[in-house]
Symmetry: C2
Subunit: 480 residues, 2 copies
């Protein structure tokens, strides 16, 4: 199924017609609409999970959890809208005594208009039709047009129908959420004059192509892409000494979770030479299983990516797990010097259940290898209090949006403080796509100068400031 | 003078070497450095103004005021750094009872690394070497490399030397602020692998070319351009009835201020037909004077742009002012129907002392013409309480970053709530280049998960939170 050019036009027009209604909607209305969408997902979870499992084979347990995560995400954004900080309300009163005299200025953030969302293959709920990009764009006050992922077309249509109906039943305008299908429609979407921003989760090549289209418009629009991430892990000698087996099993669980198809999968692990850590991984991996991959494209790409790594003269296959439906988890082994020499080969993300262990002899080797690591969503450090890791940590935090200690990067809590984004190619922007502050991507500042109160947006009037967080004359005010 | 490729490399390397020192600097240090830069400008104001006047001919009065504005801007950012909200500190405590269990997450904003700043011709201080982009990038914790404007090369060098010396004397590292010259060096700067962002104020064509270079990099970087703006003004019939002459003289002052070379100059003014407002403008304009324009390029472009407008069959010359050094202010007149037909001709920014009055017969004509107005920094409405302006206001706020009432757009207060940015082509981003929140452009989020307290950046430790604004478990906390 592909959306025709004419249909795309009608769909965007409907979103554009809905945009002023979303922009003018009150926090209470918008929160009600978001919660109605959440309730619709929860009420139809069984039907949604059944279709999702047929299309993605991710299993009912994982998918049921993901529906809950997705409805929870919509509810988090409802509370973000109600709390009101996201508006960044800022008032400077007039000052006739200043040189030059200062007018009254009242600033807020305001929605952009129709937002395009490109959904991901690996999170058919949480990063798909009603996922994080959609939730944050709607919360900001923008209608959304989703480009369905070809890996789960029936689920996309079902979700879009359910959520669009729930939004309308709750009072939101027609055109609040719609779906388009097909690559051509996606390309046309980011170039459509009425589309004001785009969110994307997917591959570096696909994301780059769309980024280039968005940036190449006569009027460029922001393109928030979450593309590729190698997610480096560093393990110190002291950490291996303290808990070799726990780290090995933890690593195996993390890189094989969801058949290695998480964007936060640890793809490269720097391990101290001579500690036998690789043996512990080799001992743990045979208990882990492969499984069907999400799409035909990934199923073809995984062995090719694996072969690309294995072909490097420095790389050996350390161990593998149980083959299920033609896919087995694999741990590869190389050394830090080779990574420094061929980062383009050895540090390229390979989507699927594989990780590359990189032995380092000393801190200099470790640091030289980390310096070759491209921007990532996460960086993980396993160390002990005895270690001086300050220099290592500096290198890691320069390359990542989230730095973890004594944990594993798979698993992304949806909270106020989450950061799911990092230097290129992890993301194309200085923002997160998960957590409360993802809403900032779909807003722009708007300041009113010397406006008569009746002409101000509701949230900028004095009576609204008695209940909304704001800054006035430089001072932050949080109403009780 | 042009910076050679080798020199550019050394300059960027020095900035990159300074970057970790800036990133690790405390708020107190950074505020001291910014204030030292401000003090250096003030202490040398006479010498700076003398050179600036020779190069720009903007006059000592205006230039002296601009030095004060520029040092004030640096001091505002010092206070922004001390206040600490800009860090967006956000903590979510661990929750072992959540499903799945939640780790501790601590989020902050962190600097990007070396920032390129392209200075403007029309603000040799406030948007130049030590201007708003530089101040906000330094405040965020980034070294800055300025591309000097060819319109004031000696002033650029003098300012850079003074400020760089003041920064170093205050304890900032070498490489904190440096200067490059020449178009080739500017192009190389936005493409240099170690440069992490760019700020720009200038023309649509120049800005677009640099935006394309920044976006086309193997690793695209954010390019914050403030390009072109027509700054629409709407005057209602009731407003003319209430204060025709005051509006006419106010308009003339605003569009001829600084010889019409402000990015917020009102370039198109929608006036009610049959009220005689154009006659009032024609009566006021002869008292206004032209003057030398800033650069050779602008001196050549102004008559060409004027001729382009005058060649439109709908356009007549309404009035002109006193010619000074070959430049006279001009008011042109057309009608709303022609603007709707030929917006590309009639709504193109013409830098210099010209404005286009557009007569409208009724609200439908007015609204159709506003709908053709491109994104602007400002939109101004002159109305009376009797007017129902809600629909007009909606159209204006969709096209601007700052909406003014009963005032004129020239004059941009440097405060917490200022917004100097708007939809394309006014700016290339969803940010401001003036005011406190301009700092957000040069920061990215960084979250620490389950970090041992000694490994956290100072500002994320519990003891720092007793004095810094932050959000904890969703609740905003403002220490007394």
């Amino acid at each position: 199924m592909t959306t025709s050019s004419a249909d795309l036009g009608s769909i965007v027009d409907a979103a554009a017609a809905a945009a002023p209604i979303w922009r003018r909607s009150s926090a209470a209305q918008r929160a009600t609409w978001l919660r109605a969408a959440a309730d619709a997902l929860d009420a139809n979870a069984d039907a949604l999970v059944a279709v999702a499992d047929e299309e993605t084979r991710l299993g009912a347990a994982r998918l049921t959890g993901e529906v809950a995560r997705t409805s929870g995400q919509l509810r988090l954004f409802a509370s973000v809208v109600e709390e009101g900080s996201y508006l960044e309300l800022t008032i400077d009163d007039a000052d006739a005594t200043a040189t030059p005299p200062r007018p009254e200025l009242r600033r807020m953030l305001t929605p952009l208009g129709p937002v395009a969302v490109f959904s991901a293959s690996n999170f058919p709920f949480a990063f798909s039709v009603a996922g994080g990009d959609t939730a944050s764009a709607l919360a900001a006050g923008n209608p959304v047009i989703v480009k369905a992922h070809s890996g789960h077309p029936r689920l996309s249509a079902l979700t879009a129908n359910l959520v669009a109906a729930a939004l309308e039943a709750a009072g939101a305008p027609a055109g609040s959420l719609s779906l388009v299908e097909g690559r051509e429609a996606g390309n046309a979407l980011v170039q459509h004059p009425l589309v004001r921003a785009a969110g994307f989760t997917g591959s570096v090549s696909g994301g780059r192509a769309l980024f280039d289209l968005a940036s190449g418009r006569p009027d460029p629009i922001p393109f928030y892409g979450e593309l590729g991430s190698i997610n480096p892990v560093v393990i110190t000698e002291a950490a291996v000494a303290a808990q070799k087996d726990a780290l090995a099993t933890g690593l195996v669980s993390s890189f094989t979770l969801g058949v290695g198809q998480f964007c936060t999968k640890p793809g490269v692990v720097f391990i101290p030479a001579g500690t036998g850590f690789e043996d512990a991984v080799a001992a743990a991996l045979p208990a882990a299983s492969g499984g069907p991959l999400l799409t035909e494209r990934i199923t073809e790409a995984f062995p090719a990516g694996l072969a690309h790594l294995e072909d490097d003269p420095s790389v050996s296959v350390l161990a593998s797990g149980v083959e299920v439906q033609g896919v087995r988890p694999v741990a590869l082994l190389t050394d830090a010097r080779s990574v420094v020499k061929r980062p383009d080969v050895l540090l390229e993300e390979c989507f699927g259940p594989v990780t590359l262990l990189v032995r380092y002899d000393d801190r200099d080797e470790l640091h030289a290898a980390i310096a070759a690591v491209p921007g990532s969503l996460t960086a993980t450090l396993h160390a002990e209090p005895v270690d001086d890791v300050s220099a290592t940590l500096e290198l890691l935090q320069d390359r990542a949006g989230r730095v973890l200690f004594a944990g594993w990067p798979t698993g992304v809590a949806v909270t106020w403080s989450q950061q799911h984004g990092g230097p290129w190619p992890a993301t194309t922007s200085l923002h997160t796509s998960v957590g409360a502050s993802a809403i900032r991507r779909f807003l722009r500042p708007l300041t009113f100068q010397d406006a008569p109160e009746p002409l101000l947006p509701e949230v900028l009037r004095d009576h609204a400031l008695t209940r909304l967080p704001h800054r006035r004359n430089g001072r932050l005010v949080v109403p009780a």
